[in-house]
Amino acid sequence: MEEYEKIIVESDEETGADVYNRVIIDVLSDLALGRVLEKIRVYIDVKEPVFIFVALRRFGLPSIRLSDFAEVDMGDYGKNEVTINLLKESYIPQLLNKLWERYGKGNIDHEERNMIIVHTPDYFTEVDFLREMIIDEKIAQINDRIMDAMLRIIPEGFRVRYHQLTKEYILFVASEDPIKQEWKNKAFSIRNGLVKGGKDNA
């Protein structure tokens, strides 16, 4: 049944493991990460000392592209411009920042609330580029939150760290001494069991 448990903390000291389980639950719920991480396995050896954290991730929300909330077209005949007709206002600040960065403030007209005009000589190719432009990257925000959670969970003095963060899992080894290969191997074996188990259960 152990493989179905969401969080398992393994340590020589039972009390310490129980309390750490609670710390992980608190930190993940504070950062609203409870649904992002599917399974968590932690190994703590205070005598070494080492802290290993491996978690299987759920697939998050996809990134938001410009075409998801706006109609992008070339301007009228003879005008070097691309028109963006916004259907939703929520992403305007991020969109404007990206457009200013790419084309310069002088080339962006935002006179009407729902219409942005981009002046560019390459309007023919830029229109396709703009349709696929990623405006809001949910995955980046979630990655930031995961790293924040990691730093809150690991013991504060463990400042030598090794980590892997992929779409599938997060692996974190922390200690106050240089990271040993055997600790990494231990983390990899936990990860391999988890990724395999995760797939089997899926």
Partner: protein, 308 residues
């Protein structure tokens, strides 16, 4: 013998209680007014406590014993990072304050980790300015027993250590008491076992301080600290303008006066008593490490030969 008690009630007519305590020869240590509510911590002569109880009933307030009144306690955390604050450090400090103590939270610069943890001489001296230190440590026995005693070294005041596992106090060198079930957590402590553990910590602190007081009664101080506090308030009007909480913070064997040492120490030394002595005759006046405040250490009877 004075009994430390705490009155909690309404602001209305609370001055009657203050006057009664002063008439009985007691002292008001602290008053906290929160809108229409007031908390008064005071010392009342043991024989007259029933009068204060009767007055409290008339004012529809509650009178409880505050065994930690007149003590300054250092709550020491390995650092002041979010790993330790606000829970459990602030929760434990709050429980100590509820029993009348003045708490100062001290975060060490490099107190974290197992092998790498350390404490500086400055931090040691700062902690030694208090009556007692409560060290709030973590979740693993090995760490508390083997590594953390390094940050207890050189502390001359009693030490209470808290942590998650159950440990015999004998196993932690230099600690006077150990309280379990209070490890590193990330939520506010509000469940039964957590509250009991904090009560246990307060009890451990009270027991140690009671023992200290008993030891002191064998060679009493030549003046009671609350009396010096009253004289300072009467003779140095600037103390009324100090915005820090508790401008004169009482300690077991003296007090911390929250005025600049360089500017005020001469005037503090020359505080006079009706018996004809000056404060400098019966106390050491020192410069504290905390913001240049003035530390007053009252001499015991064995040193001066008299009690006033």
């Amino acid at each position: 013998m004075l009994e430390p008690v705490m009155f909690e009630g309404g602001v209305y007519k609370h001055n009657h209680l203050v006057e009664l305590v002063e008439d009985l020869g007691g002292y008001i240590l602290q008053t906290n007014i929160m809108q229409t509510e007031i908390v008064i911590i005071m010392l009342v002569p043991m024989n007259d406590i029933h009068r204060v109880e009767t007055m409290t009933k008339e004012l529809l307030g509650v009178l409880t014993r505050a065994p930690l009144s007149g003590t300054e306690i250092a709550v020491v955390a390995p650092t002041l990072a979010y790993h330790h604050l606000p829970h459990p450090d602030c929760d434990i400090a709050e429980f100590l304050r509820r029993k009348g103590a003045k708490t100062n939270m001290i975060g060490l610069a490099r107190g974290v980790g197992a092998r790498v943890c350390q404490i500086t001489g400055h931090e040691r001296s700062l902690i030694n300015e208090h009556d007692l230190a409560v060290y709030i440590l973590g979740n693993f026995k090995h760490c508390i027993v083997e590594n953390k005693p390094k940050i207890l070294e050189g502390i001359e005041i009693p030490i209470v250590v808290t942590g998650a596992p159950e440990i015999d106090v004998e196993e932690i060198p230099m600690a006077n008491a150990y309280v379990g079930n209070l490890g590193r957590i990330a939520h506010r402590m509000r469940k039964g076992p957590e509250m009991w553990a904090m009560d246990e910590a307060v009890e451990a602190v009270s027991e140690i301080l009671d023992k200290e007081r008993n030891e002191m009664s064998k060679d009493p101080l030549c003046v009671m600290p609350p009396r010096v506090k009253k004289e300072i308030e009467d003779q140095i009007p600037e103390i009324a303008d100090v915005l820090s909480p508790l401008p004169v913070t009482l300690k077991l064997k003296g007090m911390r006066v929250k005025l600049d040492y360089d500017e005020f120490h001469k005037r503090i030394e020359n505080i006079s008593f009706v018996e004809g002595v000056k404060l400098k005759d019966i106390a050491y006046i020192k410069k504290g490490l905390l913001k240049n405040y003035i530390l007053v250490e009252i001499k015991p009877k064995s040193e001066t030969g008299f009690v006033i």
